[in-house]
Structures are given as C-alpha cells and as structure tokens.
C-alpha cells in the first residue's frame, strides 16, 4: 500500500498537525519508503498467533475506590494542575471559543 498527497493530508488532519504543501510533498516519498519496508511483515505466517498485548505477564491492579486515594495523583490539586497551562482562566483551562 502506498500513500499519495491526499492521503498524507488526511492523516495529518487526523493527527491534528498542520502541514504546508512543501512539507506534504516531502513526506509522501518518506512515508512510502517506510511503509514499503514494513510491508515485509505481511509475509510472516501468523496463523493461530494471538496479538501480543502485554510483553511481561502482569495482573491488572485496581486502585482503592476512595476519593483522593493517592495524595499525588488524587484530586484537590487545581493550582498544580493549572500551573503550566498556557491560558488558565478562573481556575479552568482557557481555550478559543468552541460554540457560537
């Protein structure tokens, strides 16, 4: 499978990355080179093989169902959460207007 300019533009918009026409032109052959190379995986016989989801067997742990169970990752940290926000407003993340 290979990609053309329109496909790369579509992927870029899905990835939320603005690309110029020039960048787009340059990316098409690069991505095609990489895709042609990874295509060799299609020749591997994977009959009966389950896709790997965990590389080292581990059990799923659940956190205690308690508010602010962890002082570091729990709630009540508005100032710390907003400390690096580019445009905090009234204790919230500020964003451009979404609805008219």
């Amino acid at each position: 499978m290979s990609v053309d300019t329109a496909t790369v533009a579509k992927i870029a918009s899905l990835a939320r990355i603005k690309v110029s026409e020039t960048e787009l032109e340059a990316m098409v052959p690069e991505l095609n080179g990489i895709l042609a190379w990874v295509e060799q995986l299609a020749e591997v016989d994977v009959t009966g093989i389950e896709p790997m989801t965990a590389v080292i067997p581990n059990t799923q742990r659940l956190r205690a169902d308690v508010v602010n169970a962890d002082p570091l990752t729990g709630g009540d940290m508005r100032e710390a959460v907003l400390a690096n926000a580019p445009a905090p407003e009234h204790g919230f993340f500020g964003v451009p207007k979404v609805i008219e």
Partner: protein, 494 residues
Amino acid sequence: MTALTDLGIAAIRDGVAKGDFTATEVATAFNTAVAEAQPALNAFIVTTPEKALEAAAKVDADRSAGKALGALAGVPIGMKDLFATKGVQTTAASKILEGFKPQYESTVSQKLWDAGAGMLGKLNLDQFAMGSSNETSAFGNVISPWRRPDSTAPLAPGGSSGGSSSAVSARLAPAATGTDTGGSIRQPAAFTGISGIKPTYGRCSRWGIVAFASSLDQAGPMARDVTDCAIMLEAMAGFDPKDSTSLDLPVPAWTASLSGDMKGKKVGIPREYRLDGMDPDVAKSWDDGIAWLKDAGAEIVDISLPHTKYALPTYYIIAPAEASSNLARYDGVRYGLRDLPDGAGLQDMYAATRAAGFGPEVKRRILIGTYVLSAGFYDAYYTQAQKVRALIARDFTLAFEKCDVILAPTAPSSAFALGEKSADPLEMYLNDVFSVPASLAGLPAMSVPAGLDRSGLPLGLQVIGKAFDEQGVLNAGLALEARAQFTARPEKWW
C-alpha cells in the same frame, strides 16, 4: 591523586563515607566539568549546579551527624530530560514542552534522590526519545567527546540517551539515567565506551517519564562500569502502584550477588545476528566476547532467533502507533506551547500548536502511527505487527530453553559522524537492528565496552537475559568487563 571526576559511583560513595573527601567537593568538581564542557558538547539542556550542591550539603551534614547514608550518597548524576523533575524544566528535548516545569517528581528520580544522589542537570536527548544520533533535539545536537584520530568531525554520541552517554564518557557525571525503547540506553553506551542496562520491562516505574511507546519504554542506568550500573539500578527499580505496568516484585540484591564466574552457564549465540556484510571489527569484537565468556567458564551454544529480520519493521509499526496516541496530549491546552493564529478555532489551534512544537522526526512517527492505526489499515499493519511481536518473544523463550544468556553486538558499527545518516530515516533505523528484538520481548539487556575498532572508536557487546534475570545479565557483563580491560577514554579537546 586521581581527579574526583575520574571516580565512579562506588568510589565516590565509599570515599564520601570514609571521609576521604566531602560530597560538596565532589559536586563542585563535577559542576565545574559540566560548565567547562557545555559549550562544546551540549550534553545538557539545563544545568542545576545548585541542586547538586544542595544534595551534597545534606549528605555531608548527615555524615557529620552520624546518620546512615544511602546507596548513592554524595553521587551527583545527570538526569535525562525525559524524567519529570519538580520545579525544573522538563522538555523531552522538544519545543512543545519548552518552559514546562512539572509539579511532581518522577518515581525513578525521587528514588535516586532518596538514595542520596544529587542532580547536575537535565540531559539532552533525541526529541521525545525518537532517534539514534541526538540530531533531533530542539536544543541542538549533542556532540560525542570521542573523535576519530586526525579528524575534528563531530561524532554522534548515539541516541536517544546521547546527552547521558556523552556526559558519562566525558567525565561530566559519574553516571546518568537513560531510557530505552528500542536500544536508547545500549546503543549510546556502546558508541561512547560506557556501560548501560535496560532492565526487564516493568522493573522501573514509568510514572513521571515522558511517554514515547508505553509497551516498550524502560528506564535504566548508564555508568562507567557494570558494578556502578548494578548499584544504580537497585536504587531506581521497584514496585510503584502509580504505574499499572510496574512489576510487583522485590528488587534483588544485584550488587551483593555480582559474580563474573560463568561456570555452568550457557551462552547462546544467535546465528541470525551474523549479518551479511557485517563490519569485520564488530564481528571480531563479538568473537572476542565469545572467547572471554568461555574463559570465564561458560559453555557456548548456537541458538536461532528465526524472526529477527522482522523485529525492526515490527518496532517501526508498534512504537509510532503508541507514540501517536501518547503524543496526542500535546495540544496547547493543558501545558507547553500554544500557537493560536488570529481568529483560529480549537481545531486550528491544535494543528498549529503541534506543527510548531514537534520536530520533523516526531511528526514523521506520529503520521506513521496515525496511518497504521487508521480505519482500514489497523489489522493489516498494527494487528499483524502485534502477532509478529508475539513470535519474536516466543523465539527468545525457546532460545532460553537452551541457554542462560545471549551474547551479541550492541550496534552494527561504531559511532558515525553527525549528518552521515540523517538524510535517510530508514538507514538511521537500521542502527537499532541488534537492540530492538530484546526491547520487543521486554527482556533485560546491557551493553559493555568491548574494545576499539580500527578508527579508534568504542564498540559494545550486548548481553540479553531472561525476563527478571538482571543478575544473569550483570554477571555476564562483569565477566566481559574483566577481560575486555577497556580503559580507553576520549582525549579532552573541549
């Protein structure tokens, strides 16, 4: 008298404990070395001499008060700028995180401070750990302290932990943290003549480490020798309830159990790693390694890892897929850069922010990842890669029925010059051909210096172990180190 900056972790810790010198003297010596080298090597993104001095003062005070000292007491280290450090800029070498000051400390860095270590600064790396040469950082290339004889051409320190490898080999730090996703600890260690170990996936908490590919990322130490790696890994590792992939296992006493005696051990030599047209110096160093482990008492066995040739293409589907999803959080809303063109809406702001904040290699990988996860291609690429990954892991499981550890080269060549491979992404990716398989299988693996090639540059040997068997890896590493007698170091030109 030996300069303090020539000492490694064990020597510094023991010297401070005995009172041969103070932790403050050590921190001052390294701070000076860092400041002197920074303009030439660019190993750091920010330096924090005051942090190193602060930690040292505490160790000196504790010692005077007769308090027990930690395993890294008085040892100043470099911290790869992928670890969140409270109040100190953490960027992953990207523009999108420039100015980001975490409000929390990563679990690994906290453990190191708790053990008495101090921080010399945040080390440069390939942007978001994507690269093998340190040419993708938004803060400029890291330069290796090594040079070819009769040439001043700047060489790559390897990647992505290239600031770490450059700093440790140039004696700017006795040790540094690294992270390894597809070889980012081992390859730079090999390029600069130092040691580094990636433990079993899950040994070190990923909490507070800027995520690249979550099923692969694993932190580890980079230091001058195997013993120092063992000491530092012991301090970094351990269960962390804040990371759901963290292994709930006790940390073994790796340092106390270190032994270079390989009697009764079987060392596997994977025949698929003997590539056509292999660099003769790399082939020779591999043969040397085989002879050294035999000398240490090991039996050498031929093993097969039949899916080796598919490891790199598998990696370059899985890692970008996970990266495209992990890096979705950089959207200009919660932290980091925001680019808000006049009259732009929310979607335009996301797209403009990400266009301005990510470098070309990061964009390339996000696009590949987005493509392989997109509707219609998910099964053909992503599911297929996850299945091949299962086969690669199974190859190792079967091989370890015949051997205890595996010996291979770390990288297919010694360090290349900056710019030599950056034009072709595929050629750059091939540099990780020997390191990626162990990463895909989540296995512990380390690189130790093996000697110099004909151009006078270091080569590394890689030991891969069974899951959870860091001890076996460290022991084989120690056996190699004892016989390689690697004492070469870069001549100071900076």
